[in-house]
Point group: D2
Chain length 215, copies 4
Amino acid sequence: MVKVLDKGSVELIDFVGGDQTVADTARISTMTSGTEQEDRKLVKYLIKMDHGTPFEHSYFTFYIKCPIFVARQWFRHRISSYNEMSMRYVMPDREYYVPSNLNDEEERKYKEAIENAFNVYDELLGTDVKKEQARGVLPVGMYTQFYWTINARALMNFLNLRLDRSAQFEIREYAKAMLLIFREQMPATGDAFLLKMKGELNAPHQPKEFPDIEE
Amino acid sequence: MVKVLDKGSVELIDFVGGDQTVADTARISTMTSGTEQEDRKLVKYLIKMDHGTPFEHSYFTFYIKCPIFVARQWFRHRISSYNEMSMRYVMPDREYYVPSNLNDEEERKYKEAIENAFNVYDELLGTDVKKEQARGVLPVGMYTQFYWTINARALMNFLNLRLDRSAQFEIREYAKAMLLIFREQMPATGDAFLLKMKGELNAPHQPKEFPDIEE
Amino acid sequence: MVKVLDKGSVELIDFVGGDQTVADTARISTMTSGTEQEDRKLVKYLIKMDHGTPFEHSYFTFYIKCPIFVARQWFRHRISSYNEMSMRYVMPDREYYVPSNLNDEEERKYKEAIENAFNVYDELLGTDVKKEQARGVLPVGMYTQFYWTINARALMNFLNLRLDRSAQFEIREYAKAMLLIFREQMPATGDAFLLKMKGELNAPHQPKEFPDIEE
Amino acid sequence: MVKVLDKGSVELIDFVGGDQTVADTARISTMTSGTEQEDRKLVKYLIKMDHGTPFEHSYFTFYIKCPIFVARQWFRHRISSYNEMSMRYVMPDREYYVPSNLNDEEERKYKEAIENAFNVYDELLGTDVKKEQARGVLPVGMYTQFYWTINARALMNFLNLRLDRSAQFEIREYAKAMLLIFREQMPATGDAFLLKMKGELNAPHQPKEFPDIEE
């Protein structure tokens, strides 16, 4: 389990496939086989050329704990599977994210507003209000938990977008944790992917053919 | 535009396809054509038998305004397209959902907690805290806005799940608004779908064939 | 490896997840745990009520050998991953499907037409014609091979459609082979699914809520 | 309708969305609006930076007539909807693709093999053989027909892959026909996409952030 932010984490629950599966499934198109070294080279070539389908036979299942506002960005990734804790049924722990870059005064106010919201939530539950409605007061900074299953192709797409410096700091921290796990499970793929992200494994410009009207 | 809850809404922005498209695309498998009445009957048959693909050529684009906790349930539907207001860039209006079934005391506390959170949010923005971090205090009851594009097959799946009495009241209200719009655009499909949901258009049990070991 | 038709087969290459994963991922919504017996009951309940997402964390990778016309039906299933032998690069073996219900005269003609096509294919390759064009003469009855990775939810959808007596005999044979493999890997899920397909595990009618206009 | 190959075609049946929809749906993230010129610039920027979701609200429905071996490549594109003529129910016209680059002798043999296959198919139907089985002898060069509905993002992905000089000539011809139609419906998007494909609108390298272990 990799710790992330102040109270979050990423845990690899299950994995299937791997570098060899990438090579095997890619080679079916030509019905050839290769040595271990050739397979490694093939994996690199597939990453370079953006040939994605051979990476779809490897699957990761993660258990994630992250703030709701991070989960909101996360769940935009549609080619993957989610099962999440539901605040319709679960009374959440009083766990919420506190950014580490707030000064003392900011942190005090931030925490006070959230503690106050949790207090009101508890009071509302004490009367006749349902969990699913009382939660309206709870902050997007509180932690949620979910299972996430995704194939290596879609995971690389996630990492590419969420390791980007334009992505929000908080989700970038989760992407970094997952990159570590990803590379452990698929070292050849991970190495090639890292080169690609660093701009050191670019596909050459692929010449296209256009209709006559374009010429 | 259909008003939903206290400050939300559903608006149909664009639509393509329709009942005739359903019949046309279904008929290509047999390369036949039919009268208007036969097409209507065909649409009903397709709904009855759960033949889904002919409904995938009709698309709805909606503009939705709903509480974040409703949006969180909504975005679990992956076979559709979303573009949403981002609180990384936008300072949201102080608009939030207040359940109508709270008593005065509950409502006062509920509002106070949320107003307090917005006050702290404003204060944090007044110092050096970024919108994307300060929002940690904002409640899941606040309103968000998004474009949503979905085909008729996936929309019927959404409606079937979200009109269910086990779905949360708030998202059911949105589903009801969309059912009205859906039926206006695709009356034959909508009528058949309604019968189906009422349990009056069930497919007969489809006999299956099992491996020998089962017998 | 399970033999199918005259020269085809289905082989399980890899699997991840299983009945326990179904229960674990389902239980996160309520943050509860259960005994083995309760988990088994839960799996059955999820199948009964069509709650699909907990089945999306279990993945099967198959190696399939089947006639092209069967593969054409197969590849309509979009929520899964394929890597297939390409006749742009591979000169196929002279392997083709011969239905077992043809009489001698029919079988003779059927084989002759196909053998003739393969002969012409070989001749065309002997001149300057490319594989990818010469294949235009080859029959949809010839065998192809592919890797197929699919989650348990989508696999059950495939089986439900392809075990149906209205499905073509040939693909039904493949579905039957996969049902055996599916049940071996996920016995609790497989048992419940079988009951469901036999019409013995139907969800009760789920009451829906409709807009006022409907009443 | 655009003619393609010797007997094929691409026809635009329906369209919804367009350049303005791209700009509108993109702008919701910042809740801003722009002039027509700014919107055009925005569309170009989105293409440049590979921001795909705003292109998912525009949909094309095509009617396609192409050889089966082309359709086989086509149907690998999963993020789109298909309804196709079925040779389980339809006795196909004797229409098949003849490559224009065959010499007379090659063309004669090619046609003879296929005509022979169709003759045997007709004879088999004359006895008690079902269409769905007799078709085993029919060639992958014969024409099929289908409806295809796809959003602009997925269509650009299709075009990018299928206009590539490494794609097979025959499907490239279809991609070229669709590029023309695409640009007519979405001129600003189409212009930017063309620049991108020509290598004249590349995103600058996006700096990523890596875990400590990488440094």
